[in-house]
Symmetry: C2
Subunit: 334 residues, 2 copies
């Protein structure tokens, strides 16, 4: 595994905490860190309706520690954090629609709980490198053309964007006040193996794949011309490892992105790779329309400049690997 | 009272909610609204260590309703909000230092509770005008000279700034998603009658006055050359009324400010007005130094342009009225 060897030096034998580590990106990251020889401790609350799945750890479960708890749980978290070298803080909620129907739930898991985590970090492992997983949702509706860089004003349009923005502001408050070595990566739509496939509320890219595999017509809301920047999950894991292996990234915010294309183009490509299927364009439901952000393309040049990171999986290759995974492991996700 | 008559037309016989209405600015505002003929409902949780004080309502207590509860309390708040025309949302915490020693307490009162309030507002009085009280702390450390306008990136450096920023983002999420008619005013250091005088953690301007009145040497941290934009409380009340009486302000954010001067100059002026006293410059305690923002001057031209509002009380006149008030009511504040 070439990716593992690249950052092996940074993580080998290190005590690494991955919050949300049983989820889609968290488990993919944990697997990579295990491959790098890190002592990986996964923390996950296994919230109902979120992305955690025991099966996400298949193949490396016995080579890491798993703690089932809330990241704000002082009794569990403080001893765990003691002596940690790296904290990858990936716990949180990603559903835009759910954040509007249950705002306090979203706000707790994305902001309130992380504020407690920061308290334990500053007390127990103030020297640890800390990674926050932000989102393009922090920018809100994109009001002018062109790729969005990290200086763009944050004006989230749903509770999820606002709660992630609050969590990010808090890590920089702690960084400045207590000298914590933090970095935030603002992720965009990510697809690939290990995503929850029970519903479409965590992001459409993976949900379209399930609709195809179920032989259903993909339902594409709102015209299909909305542009999304898509990341394959392994490229996001690369970005996280490259960021945390570097000292230059301390105190910085970076966009992560991959290939930008319209949702219609994504569907067409998915159908082509899958070998069959169709999509139909339907009207937005109200609840989705009111929080649609329009087109989004990430300017990811800053991260590339600082770390050399580049996404290396094209969408096509990512789709092939995704279909392969869900064909093989369908029973655990459907 | 000239100020009352100006906005009487907007508020007469209207149902007006003032959260945090037993506090420093809230009670001053409530008194003004009562004078305008509004049906004023004060909501205040009378949190220990915050600014609420029964005596703040002296003289108009019998002409308004007072509800002692948390703004997030569904059973109390939903019936109260039904049919409200105006919601002045002033509840919250202001202490920067306290926000670092008890971050979750600050975050709950400034962000979490307001998210619940917004839920009740959108369900019970979606047509009401809604005012949020933000703070200059949302901008964080001022990294370049010149007055700060509303486009400045928000990079708070303490939990209080981040929690107020989160609360403000949330009102704009609700405004966009549900059509609420919201405005945010970002306040700066405010002084005047009705401030709590038990400790200096809610802002130095009022605390200096108490030190003078107690015959103590004012202790001025960090050199004394830090510039602060100072508002007299009645001017802030003016700004709030002018903002809510206008339709042009819907969906906008405005800085509020008054006279900018160094803390040393403020002390010299206070001593002159009081007639005696002295100050000494002392080193910052660590807990204060790490969250000091440097100089702050508000660019308040946007609010003036949109509403015609201008601060009309000079610092000197404000100090005269403050000393008069605290001399007369000292027993209720010391």
């Amino acid at each position: 595994m070439t990716q593992a060897s690249e950052h092996e030096a940074a993580f080998r034998d290190k005590k690494v905490i991955v919050t949300g580590g049983a989820g889609f990106i968290g488990a993919s990251l944990a697997q990579r860190l295990v491959a790098c020889g890190a002592k990986v401790h996964i923390v996950d609350a296994f919230r109902e309706g979120c992305g955690a799945n025991e099966h996400n750890l298949a193949g490396f479960r016995e080579r890491c520690q798993l703690l089932r708890c809330d990241i704000a749980d002082e009794e569990s978290m403080r001893p765990l954090l003691r002596g940690a070298d790296f904290v990858f803080d990936l716990a949180g909620r990603v559903s835009h629609v759910d954040s509007m129907s249950a705002p306090q739930t979203d706000f707790y898991d994305n902001a309130v709980a992380h504020l407690s985590l920061l308290e334990w970090v500053r007390q127990e492992c103030p020297e640890a490198r800390f990674l926050y997983s932000g989102t393009r949702g922090q920018y809100g509706a994109i009001d002018r053309p062109g790729a969005v860089d990290e200086e763009r004003v944050q004006a989230p349009i749903d509770v999820n964007g606002a709660s992630k923005s609050a969590g990010e502001q808090m890590i920089f408050v702690y960084a400045r006040a207590y000298g914590l070595a933090v970095t935030s990566l603002r992720l965009t739509n990510t697809f690939g193996p290990r995503h929850q496939m029970k519903n479409g509320r965590h992001g459409v890219l993976n949900w379209f794949l399930r609709q195809l595999m179920d032989g259903q017509t993909i339902r594409l809301f709102g015209g299909g011309d909305q542009v999304r920047d898509t990341s394959f999950v392994d490229d996001v894991v690369d970005a996280m490892c490259a960021t945390m292996a570097s000292e230059q990234t301390i105190g910085q915010v970076y966009n992560v992105g991959g290939e930008a294309l319209s949702l219609k183009q994504y569907c067409q490509l998915a159908i082509e790779v899958y070998g069959s299927g169709q999509f139909e364009v339907v009207e937005f439901p109200d609840e989705a329309k009111r929080i649609d952000v329009g087109d989004y393309v990430a300017d990811r040049s800053k991260l590339s400049t600082h770390t050399g990171w580049q996404p290396r999986t094209g969408i096509r290759a990512g789709l092939v690997r995704s279909f392969d995974y869900y064909r093989e492991h369908r029973a655990h996700y459907w």
